[in-house]
Symmetry: C2
Subunit: 364 residues, 2 copies
DNA sequence: ATGAAAGCGCTAACAT
DNA sequence: ATGTTAGCGCTTTCAT
């Protein structure tokens, strides 16, 4: 039953036409509704379709019309709930407009991204929504001139020749950092993935801006942990092992957030008593974590909606100038961000002074 | 740059043939390597391809050859790491065999599944790996006769006319339940999704079998929480609110596991002191949960490998009898399963006896 | 309103 | 080894 060639012996439009006693064009017109057909023939065609169980071959139609009514959605990591949310939403709205979407997961590998992008293009998709693994699309240079209408999301913000949509990362990081500063933190480590991504650069910049405004410009501590949970954990764990460890960690990606939680657990630090944690993005699991992790929420639905809106316009052959859309994030203050344990530097200073004191006395 | 019709003005095989001064067939033969071509022409063709930046149109080739070298992977919930792991693995091994895979997420909706399945079929995929939303494929009856070679994973085990691959769910649940029984639990609630799925039915059966073998056949408590985290939470929370609440919860799906954790948290029960928890599948977040959740691990990689292996054979036109493959799970005992607080029933009984005693004395 | 026929870009069968 | 040609199943002129 299932070891058959695909569509083997499946009826074609000619079979339908023959059975209905009409021309293939008429069948096509009935089915697509592009031209009006007499009620009688209409009925005949529909009957034949039903009798034969005819299903149009979308491949053939696509080849003829030079469009597939399909968009590609390319994300670097399907495991990241931020991307999952976006993908689900795009599929929903695209589906409502009768566009099929094919999802491609690159596993944060630019090589894989290139390979799957090529496969996508060879299949003649009409549009592309992509969160590129790298900001700079140079790695895919040979593909670029053949790319269909594309919008870049999350990463590569502002790239010329594309509509781009992203969270307002600079502002989000600024607000996150402000929140920690207002709680009294001065030693705030930023755990990010890699400086090469525009979204990460923006987050770093927002963090530094907040620090500078608070007169702590020199105290920025940017820790780069890569895209993985484990590499992030290792990076921040090292930072937390230092004598002058930060009193707060601001993890600015989803895997970094989990990595930071792991590091704090591994070192058996109390959160938020020993160290505060502010994360980025959200997992359902956070709600059962104690403390419930404070985090930055990106407007994933809005990003998806806007991305579809833009691609949709291009599919309709709009020649409007390229847009670059920033959408605001939300800061969700929960339980993992509290004032620092008492100013750590002051405490160290006090201890040192006391030591000198004792020493002095002993000498005296 | 990006507002162009897909492949607009892209060179075709005829352009290449013209430029190289050869026949289109020769170009095709050079590129596909299906027939040998003289070294000179070969060079000419390759040069023309490079000069023009020619990329074959896979759509046209697919139409002509009546095969797309594409398989569909259909899963009910891309958010579930069990499926994510399978998808990633299949894409990897299929890619190695030069098959593209298109991923479809149904969000546990049979309607959506039908719609996207139809879209997939119209695009003439060569094979299908599907974890169906419903065990009984009757909902898709009209599609069935036109399905390409398909293998069912996770659900619909043993369905005639398909190769099927699944974890040994009965055994897994049996072992999980045994583990709890050995710890001394007698009141074990099973939190499952829905009885309509073969995998769930198997898990329920395994649980009941273990109970029966331990002479507790009458104490089975099966709680159905649906596919969502919230619905699962609500269902098990109600059970945990009862005076005779279970001393252990065995959640047998991924969302049920999270739901159970949530319920335990919500009721402020201590785990494993008040109630033990055994889960199914795994999330990276579990490692940072206290207690670290004991769980059943499905062999997702093996399932993926086996599924590809089977579909791969069918693609090669094997007519071997359909196989039904069960793969063993692993029980990972961590921190959330401990002996019960002291036998609850005994305690209740003791209290009641004492009360009667007092009462009696007062009367006396 | 309907039919006949050309052709989307490729591959395979048939020539040579 | 290479060229010629006939389609794959549709849509879309161009007739009528």
């Amino acid at each position: 039953m299932s070891s058959r060639t695909p569509r083997d012996g499946a009826p074609t439009i000619r079979d339908v036409a023959a059975r209905a006693g009409v021309a293939t064009a008429t069948v096509s017109n009935v089915l697509t509704g592009r031209r009006s057909v007499g009620a009688d023939k209409q009925r005949l065609v529909l009957e034949a379709v039903a009798a034969l169980g005819y299903r149009p071959n979308h491949l053939a139609a696509s080849l003829r019309r030079q469009q597939t009514r399909t968009i590609g959605i390319v994300v670097p990591d399907i495991t990241n709930p931020f991307f999952t949310a976006i993908v689900r939403r795009i599929e929903e709205v695209a589906g409502a407009a009768d566009y099929e979407s094919v999802l491609v997961d690159c596993n944060e590998s630019t090589v894989r991204e290139g390979a799957r992008l090529r496969a996508l293009l060879a299949r003649m998709i009409d549009g592309l929504i992509v969160a590129p693994t790298e900001d700079d699309l140079a790695a895919h240079a040979p593909l670029l001139p053949r790319l269909p209408s594309s919008v870049l999301i999350d990463r590569g913000f502002g790239t010329a020749g594309f509509d781009t949509v992203a969270a307002d990362n600079n502002d989000a990081a600024w607000r996150g950092c402000r929140h920690l500063l207002e709680l009294g933190h001065r030693d705030i480590a930023l755990l990010a993935s890699a400086r090469e991504l525009s979204n990460i650069r923006d987050r770093i910049a927002g963090y530094q801006r907040a620090l500078a405004e608070a007169g702590c410009g020199g105290r920025a501590r940017v820790v780069l942990g890569g895209h993985g949970v484990e590499s992030s954990r290792a990076a921040i764990e090292q930072e937390l092992r230092r004598a002058d460890r930060p009193t707060a960690v601001f993890a600015v990606t989803y895997p970094a957030t989990l990595g930071a939680v792991k590091a704090i657990r591994a070192l058996d630090l109390a959160c938020p008593d020993d160290v505060s944690l502010l994360g980025f993005d959200e997992s359902d699991w956070m709600t059962v974590l104690r403390p419930y992790v404070s985090t930055i929420l990106q407007p994933s639905e809005l990003i998806a909606d806007r991305a579809w809106q833009l691609i949709s316009a291009r599919l309709a052959r709009s020649a409007a100038p390229f847009e670059h859309v920033r959408l605001p994030c939300m800061l969700a203050v929960r339980e993992s961000t509290k004032p620092p344990p008492a100013d750590a530097a002051a405490r160290r200073h006090a201890r040192r002074t006391e030591a000198r004191h004792i020493k002095g006395r002993m000498i005296a």
